[in-house]
């Protein structure tokens, strides 16, 4: 009955127990001093100025661009591994793909997507 999957199951249980066990034990044993500054937002030691919750939409935009180009480049990993099998045809298609990504990059740049304001 001891198959590979049983090992995996044991691994899951141990991982779960150690993760939750640690936080539980620290909660149990550690000193408790609630309130005060502990509830405030941590901003590099400076007192927070405004209520949190609203980031400027610019952050989202940057995050989105990062995601898009990051995901696009991620597609190159499997390609790189199997490049030897794919040969020239695979290479051409990757170049085509990169051209499109580069085109999108140029478009975003041209339209002012990277300007902070």
């Amino acid at each position: 009955m001891f198959t590979n999957y049983t090992a995996l199951l044991i691994y899951f249980i141990v991982a779960f127990l150690s993760a939750f066990g640690m936080s539980f034990i620290s909660n149990l044993l550690g000193p408790q001093a609630p309130g005060g500054l502990k509830k405030a937002t941590y901003e590099s030691g400076i007192a927070p100025e405004a209520p949190v919750g609203y980031f400027s939409v610019r952050f989202y935009r940057v995050a989105m661009f990062f995601m898009i180009f990051d995901v696009a480049v991620m597609a190159l990993y499997p390609w790189a591994i199997s490049l030897t099998d794919l040969r020239q045809a695979g290479f051409e298609k990757a170049v085509f793909f990169l051209v499109i990504v580069a085109f999108a990059f140029a478009y975003v740049w041209n339209r002012g997507g990277f300007q902070w304001d």
Binding site: I100, F103, A106, Y107, N110, R111
Partner: protein
């Protein structure tokens, strides 16, 4: 025949949208250059489609059986080109639309064309997503609260339904071990519960896009909040994409077990026809009215799928054309009245017959086509669907179609009677504005609608060739 030449329409559209982006880069803001490029691209795509059609090619499977280029996909290309071209024309007034408008429309059109060709699960999902993502942006492209609501609602519900669709597709893959539609029927016995669950979830995802009751709740708000041209694109293009993939998905993958989904779709079709048209009766906002009537028309389309026959497939494919032509025609009139500024209600039509008799006459033609009165294309489409229902021994669907038509007619009569009311509304037609692009759309729509009603034979012939390949394998 290489992949490049059989997929020429798709490549033309892809190239066009890249060039249009280039055009946006080099031209100043609010230039019509991108629109011109997009328009020429759709005409080029139409030409490429017609060229491929005239060569009578055998169906080809491309990219490891993931895309099937055949008469079916070419006919879908025709429909999508008409939808995309008319949308670009209706959004011609660059002032309120963003520069990216034609690019996004073409990208969405590319998704629809992908759905027309799709023959496996990956391209199905890709097509749905390529279709939807640009539409989310387009829906919110007017910066007013309604537009924001439309975009957000469409995005959230659309993402949700995409998730369900993806889950369903994953289950199907898990049960059958194959991505290709044609393998499903033979891969595993059809009473596998995982396969059944996968099929149901995938159907929910697609029916959401097609706006079948009870997955229709997003339609009225999204239609109302989106810009007029975008709404017309949603009403025509999205329905084309969703309907054709539904048909091919079921007809290729599950043709051996129609009992598992046929009756279900039949009942949904009945429900959709009745509910959509019934609620349309009470609408005063024209875009909401067309939203609900579009739901009803989706129910009509579903008849063609539910009966699971060659006639049904042909009838559904045919019905898309007169429906779409009436949609773009009616929305051309709406854009003339609204001028992109306001939501057109029935009261805005008052006195139209006296002040703008020609526009009123054309509007009558489109409404009658929606209602399925003879000498318009809508009638021929309904006639074909009736044939499909009765050949399949489904008089219930036939009666449902008739009752739905009847309720729908009541909804279309109210704007018509409002047009003949004498000037009781001073505000009506204050923003009347006509440009050449709208007139082009109107001419295409009215010639197509009447032409289909008077001499539908060529299109019937085309449709019969398009849906011929089903159940031959």
């Amino acid at each position: 025949m290489s992949a490049t030449s059989t997929m020429l329409p798709e490549y033309v559209i892809l190239g066009t949208l890249l060039i249009a982006m280039l055009g946006i880069m080099v031209s100043r803001a609010h230039s019509t250059l991108p629109s011109w490029i997009g328009l020429l691209g759709t005409i080029g795509g139409l030409w490429a489609t017609a060229d491929l059609w005239s060569r009578h090619l055998k169906p080809v499977l491309l990219f490891n059986q993931s895309l099937s280029v055949d008469n079916y996909s070419l006919f879908v290309d025709f429909l999508v080109m008409i939808a995309a071209g008319s949308t670009i024309l209706l959004g011609w007034q660059g002032e309120r639309e963003h520069d990216e408008f034609p690019v996004l429309v073409l990208l969405s059109a590319l998704g629809m064309m992908t759905l027309g060709m799709s023959a496996n699960l990956i391209t199905l999902f890709l097509g749905v997503e390529i279709l939807s993502l640009p539409l989310y942006i387009l829906a919110a492209s007017h910066r007013d609260p309604l537009g924001g609501e439309a975009g957000l609602k469409y995005f959230l519900l659309g993402a949700f339904s995409s998730g369900i669709l993806l889950f369903g597709l994953a289950l199907i893959y898990g049960a059958t071990g194959s991505m290709t539609f044609t393998d499903f029927a033979t891969a595993v016995s059809s009473n596998s519960p995982i396969l059944a669950a996968g099929l149901m979830l995938a159907l929910v995802g697609i029916l959401f896009k097609l706006a079948i009751v009870p997955f229709h709740m997003w339609v009225p708000d999204v239609y109302e909040g989106s810009p007029d041209a975008v709404t017309s694109f949603m009403a025509f293009g999205t329905k084309v994409g969703a309907a054709v993939i539904l048909l091919r998905f079921l007809a290729y993958g599950f043709y051996l077990s129609p009992d598992a989904w046929g009756p279900l779709l039949g009942y949904l079709a009945l429900l959709t026809m009745i509910v959509g048209n019934l609620v349309a009766l009470t609408q005063t906002n024209l875009k909401r009215l067309f939203g609900y009537s579009g739901i009803g028309h989706a129910g009509f389309l579903l008849i063609g799928v539910a009966v699971h026959s060659v006639v049904g497939a042909r009838a559904m494919l045919f019905y898309l054309l007169p429906y779409g032509l009436a949609v773009i025609g009616a929305f051309a009139i709406i854009t003339m009245i609204s001028n992109g500024e306001k939501n057109v209600t029935i009261h805005d039509l008052e006195g139209l017959a006296h002040k703008k008799p020609w526009a009123a006459a054309l509007f009558i033609v489109f409404m009658l086509s929606f209602a399925g009165i003879p000498l318009t294309g809508g009638f021929i489409g309904k006639f074909y669907l009736l044939q499909a229902a009765l050949f399949a021994h489904q008089p219930g669907l036939a009666v449902g179609l008739v009752v739905g038509t009847f309720l729908g007619l009541g909804a279309y009569l109210r704007p018509l009677q409002a047009m003949f009311r004498h000037e009781s509304n001073e505000q009506a037609l204050a923003g009347w504005n006509v440009n050449w692009a709208q007139i082009v759309v109107l001419v295409v729509a009215v010639v197509g609608t009447i032409g289909l009603g008077v001499y539908p034979t060529p299109v019937v012939h085309m449709v019969n060739q398009s849906a011929n390949f089903f159940w031959l394998h």
